[in-house]
Amino acid sequence: MRKKLLITLSTILIAALLAVIGYIGMLYRQGNVSNYTPPPPPSVSPKEQAISDLQNLSRAVEAYFVKNMEYPQKLDSLVPEFIDRVGHDPLSAKPYLYTATGNGGAASYRISLPAPSLYNIKECFIENGTVTQK
């Protein structure tokens, strides 16, 4: 009886020890210099991705305004200072639509999805950082 208890306890102890060693091993493996990279972005639906793209582009457009006191005439002007690349709508693979308006330098802008019907919506755009879906 006592022997059985001893075996059970040592089994638990070994299992716990293995778990700790395994955890430390995992932390060690994840700490390699090749892992000096940011955490990967969470996987999201194409619609969430498209809206996130619109928001990122809008922030870059606003930052462009801070530097130039007017909005850019085209999204390509944001590269490479504010964004890496403009990107495309995930479902249609078409570029996002951008319009800038105003006299004496663009004073307002709108970025829209090129094919909103693919997301079962009539219209989706961002203006002044606010996303509108219809």
Partner: protein, 254 residues
């Protein structure tokens, strides 16, 4: 001699017209006849209180009422460290009512009312790096290596710190990771801004080849924050609430 009264009448009429024109010009609310552009007056008034390399002012509107334009844009370039180390700050007033009395009499910048106000600031990698250096000097932390890279939405930092120079209170959390008196590694940090205070949220920390467990990272986050308090630019009233890491800048706005 007979034409003299007629000439005298014309002279009198022209004199009256000239007086009328001069009176209208003198009473004009824009004072456009005698004064320099309003943009320059505003820039000069701002230069009295805001210290930066360059102040650019743009007024947008139909030009009928310059004291109450559609938009007033102010760009402040290269602000010195005494104030705020932003590379560029741009302020946007929508339908502002500029206090012309304060501007003309006391040469002061004052906005009596505004429909909407936006402020955005850009901080370059070099500026952020300088802020890290300043914070390290202030805390007396010595390091052999410190590199900063912007990878939206993260700021990536690689470091090699002399562990002995870390204050003992903070060293306790990382004690187990110290190797040969050094703390070398990597951190991927997200930024948040709450009421002009910058909060750093490390999502991944690697110390001497070990990834730091998340409970310890959370504890570290609690101790290190707020990492920075962005001073307010004199004259302007605002609270910074948003921050974004872009390719070459950190963009902070209200």
């Amino acid at each position: 001699m007979a034409q003299l009264p007629k000439n005298s009448g014309i002279t009198h009429l022209m004199l009256n017209i000239a007086i009328l024109v001069l009176s209208v010009l003198a009473l004009s609310p824009q004072d456009s006849f005698s004064r320099e552009p309003l943009e320059n007056e505003l820039a000069k008034a701002l230069a009295k209180t805001v210290r930066c390399e360059k102040i650019e002012v743009k007024i947008k509107g139909d030009g009928k009422n310059r004291a109450n334009p559609d938009k007033l844009l102010i760009k402040l370039v290269s602000m010195p460290n005494q104030c705020i180390p932003a590379d560029i700050a741009t302020l946007q007033y929508s339908n502002p009512k500029i206090d012309m009395m304060a501007l003309r009499k006391a040469k002061n910048f004052k906005i009596n009312s505004v429909a909407d106000f936006k402020i955005g600031m850009l901080f370059s990698q070099q500026t952020i790096r300088n802020e890290f250096d300043k914070a390290a000097r202030r805390l007396n932390v010595q390091y052999n290596k410190l590199s900063i890279r912007f990878t939206p939405p993260y700021i990536e930092v690689e470091f090699d710190i002399n562990a002995r120079s870390i204050p003992s209170r903070d060293r306790k959390i990382v004690e187990k990771f110290i190797k040969n008196g050094r703390l070398a590694g990597y951190a991927a940090i997200r930024l948040q801004v709450q009421g002009n205070r910058v909060i750093a949220s490390p999502d991944k920390v690697i110390l001497n080849h070990f990834r730091m467990p998340m409970p310890l990272v959370s504890e570290l986050k609690k101790r290190m924050n707020p990492v920075w308090h962005i001073p307010r630019i004199p004259v302007f009233d605002y609270t910074l609430e948003k921050v974004d890491v872009l390719k070459q800048y950190v963009y902070v706005s209200n």
